[in-house]
Amino acid sequence: MTLRISQQLVDEIVAHARQDHPDEACGVVAGPIGSDAPTRFIPMINAARSPNFYEFDSTDLLRLYREMDSNDEDPIVIYHSHTHTEAYPSRTDINYASEPNAHYVLVSTRETGNDDGPYEFRSFRIVDGEVTEETIEVTA
């Protein structure tokens, strides 16, 4: 299993995570249904505004899914940041994961906070409570 994602999308996700640090940042990268290709970056507001929890606002969530429906898109990547721990799904992440076809991307900003520098960027499948890390192929 591999996530293929452009450098630009990686940069956008990391920039969002840095901007919202010390709170968790979250969002989606949508792509054509069945393509497994993330193309449209959609940063979301963390309604929990918390350093250890994230949740899409329920109104935003419905709007997002309606929009993806009318564009024939799937949520290919669902990303969020960890601001104090490693970029690995927490127990809460696993309990809430409900898109078995999505790549769950985690970014950790614990090293550099709002600043530039090294970051962790990892991708996982979460299906029926089972976490599987996958390789990431960054394209131009």
Binding site: N52, E55, S58, Y96, S98
Partner: protein, 90 residues
Amino acid sequence: MSITVSLPTILRPYANDQRRVEADGSTLANLIDNLDLTYPGLKSRIVEEGSIRRYVNVYINSEDVRFLNGLDSELSSGDLVDVLPAVAGG
């Protein structure tokens, strides 16, 4: 009196992989009971101990039912019910 219910990917296997289903019900609780008769197993994925599960959002005509009357929210023919799992984590 027919209500259209839009199901998320994760619940479609319980409903013969349909994205939208039709059911009757005068309240949300009633609708979900009726859905479960046709598609056994759906109810337990949405309702737990008499309330909507914490990580499931249900909307009637785009309004989150937590801001209406929850499972007691009333329904009329032609209403659109959306079920969406929360996107959340720690």
